[in-house]
Subunit: 107 residues, 2 copies
């Protein structure tokens, strides 16, 4: 078991009611484009909720970015590419959750 | 870019106000013990929130289990080890979030 300096940045979205599937797809493409522009996003994965316990609290999409360390996250937040994406995205969100942690890998 | 049959099971906890650090540590140890008992938990990592955007919605701990597929998750939920842990854990939780997704790895 080891704790990493790596930082996992977990983001959950719930889009506003009435947001079209086409617009949701476009906004997801916008997030997916960021790792190509922002070197410090060293790993990026995402997906739609398929949980069966009804504890997802309304969130529908999850995105996990891995940064080499907290400094990577600190560089990402004010990055121009991130800021421009946030400006386009935020008007369409009902709610968002952002949780960062240094993973301790148990298994 | 590829979408996996793997299923990531993201769990967030907020403990009830007044839960002692010692009890929180004990409850986290209980979760950490599950991968040793439940074979289908093929990867397990966790950590406490270190986010700086104040969008963590009060959650303080994140746990990510990777199952080989949705059937693995389906076997985990009713597993005796999981059920016993939930019984001990739930009285101490203010809130919980569970989000499952099949990761599409972009980078």
């Amino acid at each position: 078991m080891s704790t990493s300096t790596e930082l996992k940045h977990v983001v959950l979205f719930k889009f506003k009611e009435g947001t079209s599937d086409a617009l949701i797809a476009e906004l997801i493409e916008g997030y997916k484009a960021l790792p190509g522009k922002i070197e410090v996003m060293k790993h990026f994965e995402y997906g739609a909720d398929v949980s069966i316990e009804d504890l997802h609290q309304g969130y529908t999409h999850c995105f996990i970015t891995t940064f080499p360390d907290a400094a990577g996250r600190d560089a990402y937040i004010p990055h121009q590419g991130h800021k421009e994406y946030v400006e386009v995205l935020f008007p369409h969100l009902d709610k968002i959750l952002v949780f960062d942690f240094h993973p301790t890998v148990v298994k």
